[in-house]
């Protein structure tokens, strides 16, 4: 198994474009997805760059408020539905679910390919909406602004998200069935790596919540096209109804964006601490608890929207309940490092960055869940900073951590380690410089989604824009050295990190059929201590 290069890998299984576009191999589909979401990440990132450029000056530098509104709407829509929601599940998830389970492929390989095509179709429609001029409603599409007052390609944007939703549902279904049905002999539920549990919880949310988004968007389109009064009070609708439906999807969706990240981190911390994951069952059930309670907190986005005081109290309490399992996870990861043999390769640096940034983001969630504090902080840059800490500082770091960790497995090449570490550190520094000032801006009252702003907010905005420049360098760097490693990177062995998990028992890159013989699982996951004890003897 040592010499992976000689073995016939999934990458050698046809080199034509056709062999890629018609493949039903989960590993190849994962690669197709990586290419697609990388494109959307940089497209959305470009919009973010222009937003930060505009805000360098209090008067706005890009000259038009209309352009500015279209930029942040495009940024939000692309980043949420075309990068963050799919990011880990469709790339690392697609690649690893069968490998970690000891299976040949997902349960429905053709459905998997279909979901990629749906995603691409959605992407094309979204790009059409963007190139055609975009939308100016924000990613939240609040009514009645979106119903009748907004110009632009609202319908195209809505259709794009609608289609992308079906891609999510297909992926979710596929994972659920696969995890139930295709576990290798001996792989009981509690022998599964936490990454799989996280994806399981994520998939359940995707399958239950996405249809609600689809219906909401359909109603919105009906109202806009046919003038049927659903959300606009001028024609008999209820403006708050939209917000309820939207957040009923979108709050669970924020956990779709973070749970897979929790999974990635739960693999990496034990691997680089050479120690069993602390509190495996607690970490697992925390994911499930988040998935369940996450459905009951949507009202915390509406504390000043005009709902009843009592419902606000209930939603506040439930929001605190959903934060508790996240806190439990953080404590468990740190406890895992305790008495370990810690190594600092790039995946671990990203993972440590994740813990710090996610904790900061989560703690500021507590500010927003405290009702009276939310009244002051909501709709300001404080909220913007909060969700960027969890989604960008948290999730994007987790994605990068996972990408570096499994890169040798996926490509058969090592990335250059020094560059990897430099990237992780630059991203951490740039991120904090970009987003920490926004907490202060929000507390001082700077509203979000403003094209121009009062003079006295200038200094902090300047700082934030400077940070964005560093962050941009941090994100472009991996694009460069990871691509480089495909051609020149050192050959990877089957298990370069000495990690546990079935995916590391097969060659790097794995053969098309994954395992020559179906593995039989006898051990719990993360049995690092024994290996280490031997090494140190």
């Amino acid at each position: 198994m040592r010499d992976a290069a000689v073995q016939h890998s999934y990458l050698d299984d046809g080199r034509t474009l056709r062999s890629w576009l018609l493949t039903t191999d989960h590993k190849r589909i994962a690669i197709l997805y990586i290419v697609a979401i990388t494109f959307f990440f940089f497209a959305g990132g470009f919009a973010a760059f222009l937003i930060r450029y505009n805000l360098i000056s209090p008067k706005g530098l890009i000259g038009s408020a209309e352009t500015y509104n279209r930029l942040f709407s495009m940024h939000g829509i692309l980043m949420v539905w075309f990068f963050l929601v799919p990011a880990v599940p469709v790339t690392l998830g697609n690649f690893l679910v069968p490998l970690m389970l000891g299976a040949r492929d997902l349960a429905f390989p053709r459905l998997n390919l279909l979901s990629w095509y749906l995603f691409m179709a959605a992407g094309v429609v979204a790009l059409y909406a963007v190139v055609g001029g975009g939308v100016d409603t924000g990613w939240t599409f609040y009514t009645p602004l979106t119903s009748f007052y907004s110009q632009g390609h609202v319908i195209a944007a809505v259709v794009a998200i609608f289609i992308a939703g079906f891609s999510s549902i297909a992926t979710g279904l596929n994972f659920i069935v696969t995890i139930h049905k295709l576990r290798a002999p001996g792989m009981t539920w509690y022998k599964m790596p936490v990454f799989l549990w996280s994806l399981y919880a994520t998939s359940v949310i995707l399958v239950l919540a996405t249809p609600v988004l689809a219906m909401t968007l359909l109603l919105l389109a009906f109202e806009r096209i046919f003038g049927i009064g659903v959300f606009d009070p001028a024609i008999g609708g209820d403006p708050l109804l939209f917000q309820h439906l939207f957040w009923f999807y979108s709050h669970p969706a924020v956990y779709v964006m973070i749970l897979p990240g929790f999974g990635v981190i739960s693999e990496i911390i034990p691997a680089f601490s050479r120690k069993e994951l602390f509190g495996y069952k607690f970490v697992v059930w925390a994911s499930i608890a988040i998935a369940v309670i996450g459905f009951l907190v949507w009202g915390h986005h509406m504390f000043v929207a005009g709902t009843s005081l009592y419902s606000a109290l209930v939603f506040s309490l439930l929001s605190y309940m959903v934060a508790a399992p996240s806190a439990i996870k953080v404590f468990n990861w740190i406890a895992t490092m305790h008495k370990g043999y810690i190594r600092f390769d790039a995946p671990m640096l990203y993972a440590i960055g994740f813990i710090g940034l996610f904790t900061t983001g989560g703690l500021t969630g507590l500010f927003l869940a405290a009702l009276a504090a939310d009244v002051h902080l909501t709709q300001t840059y404080f909220v913007v900073a909060h969700f960027h800490y969890v989604m960008v500082g948290g999730m994007v770091s987790a994605y990068f951590a996972g990408l570096h960790f499994w890169w040798p497995k996926m490509t058969g090449h090592m990335y250059p380690e020094m560059w990897g570490r430099a990237g992780a550190i630059i991203i951490f520094v740039g991120f904090n410089l970009t987003f920490f000032p926004q907490f202060l801006l929000g507390y001082l009252g700077m509203p979000r989604r403003y094209f121009a702003y009062p003079q006295h907010f200038e200094a902090l905005n300047l700082l934030s824009s400077a940070g964005a420049l560093i962050l941009a360098v941090g994100y472009i760097l991996p694009l460069g050295y990871l691509t480089w490693s495909l051609l020149y990177g050192e050959r990877a062995s089957a298990n370069p990190w000495g990690a546990t998990g079935l995916e590391w028992t097969t060659a790097s890159p794995p053969p098309t059929e994954n395992f020559a013989v179906t593995p039989i699982v006898t051990q719990a996951p993360y049995q690092y201590r024994q290996a280490e004890a031997v090494n140190h003897e």
Partner: protein
């Protein structure tokens, strides 16, 4: 640049305390998290030969203790934030009411005395002020950071906030709900003045007596739009004998419970009166014919506010 602007209201100062407490809790947790990570990174780095001992077995004790500790802190924060919030949104009975109408992209303010302002709100110091707010088009949000207060302003509804300013001065007013291209320009100022200055300002435009107050303006509309043709002069109610149709008396309507044809009973508040004027078919009153025409599209939100002020001013049984 100012990094801290003290709140100009009492409740605002309490909110600042809450935010301070949250910040302290966060700093403590962050110090713990970063501290432990850094400590372990140094102490347990792979190269370090420090003795690790046998791995601990019983994890659940730790799990239970940090879960309970977390929940206890969370619960305290919930109670504090919730209690303050409920007080924040319950206006005292003696608050001075001022009407606010948002539209793309400006704020229109109507004082009881009939004074109008645009993108500005003048208020007296040390006096509870209640804003009754509605929108002519999309959702806006009335936000005064120095007061630590904000609330969405919805079309078709009256939302209200209140505050009592303790510091004189001029404060920023923002719209904080995305409302279209001009969202960023929907700003203004709130001017807090001493009571005498405020009186002065109120009488500033026209000498007293020449300016109509809101209720008087509403009375004119009541005749001009033909309301009196059915509801009678002074809203005393119509009968076939007096006005030719049966129409309910409007005097003393606010706060009265009204029986609808569906059998349900509702308490007449501002929103109910607004709906009766703009969409009477949605609020059919028991015992009356459904003949009142809809005035939607003919009477602006500001005029509706004046009509409401007029109807409020009518005392039961009195004629004005």
């Amino acid at each position: 640049m100012n990094f801290y602007v003290p709140s100009a209201t009492v409740d605002g100062r309490e909110i600042d305390f809450l935010i301070l407490a949250l910040s302290l809790v966060s700093c403590a947790v962050l110090a713990l998290v970063f501290g432990l990570i850094l400590l372990y990174m140094v102490r347990y780095r792979a190269e370090s030969g420090v003795y690790r001992g046998a791995p601990g077995r019983k994890t659940w004790r730790f799990e239970i203790s940090w879960t309970v500790a977390t929940l206890a802190v969370f619960f305290a924060l919930f109670i504090w934030g919730g209690d303050l919030y409920v007080r924040l949104f319950q206006p005292p009975a003696d608050a001075l009411q001022i009407y606010v109408v948002g539209k793309q992209w400006m704020w229109k303010v109507e004082h009881q005395g009939g004074q109008h302002e645009i993108n500005a709100l003048h208020i007296p110091i040390n006096r509870p002020i209640q804003l009754v707010m509605t929108s002519e088009d999309v959702i806006h949000d009335f936000s005064v950071p120095a007061f630590r207060i904000k609330h969405d302003v919805l079309p078709g509804r009256y939302e209200s906030i209140w505050f009592e300013a303790k510091t004189p001065g001029t404060f920023e007013l923002f719209c904080t709900q995305l409302c279209g291209v001009g969202h960023y320009s929907m700003t203004g100022e709130v001017v807090v003045m001493s009571q005498p200055d405020f009186e002065n300002w109120l009488s500033g435009g026209a000498p007293a007596g020449e300016r109509e107050d809101l209720a008087a303006a509403g009375k004119e509309l009541f005749t001009a739009h033909g309301c009196s043709g059915c509801h009678g002069e002074g809203g005393v109610g119509g009968t076939p004998a007096t006005t030719g149709v049966n129409a309910p008396a409007l005097a003393g309507l606010l706060g009265r419970s009204v029986k609808l044809q569906s059998g349900a009973t509702v308490t007449a508040d501002e929103k109910f009166i607004r709906d009766c004027i703009l969409t009477p078919d949605k609020t059919p009153i028991a015992g009356y014919p459904q003949i009142m025409p809809s005035f939607s599209g003919q009477i602006s939100e500001e005029k509706v506010l004046r009509l409401i002020a007029y109807i409020k001013s009518l005392k039961s049984g009195s004629r004005t």
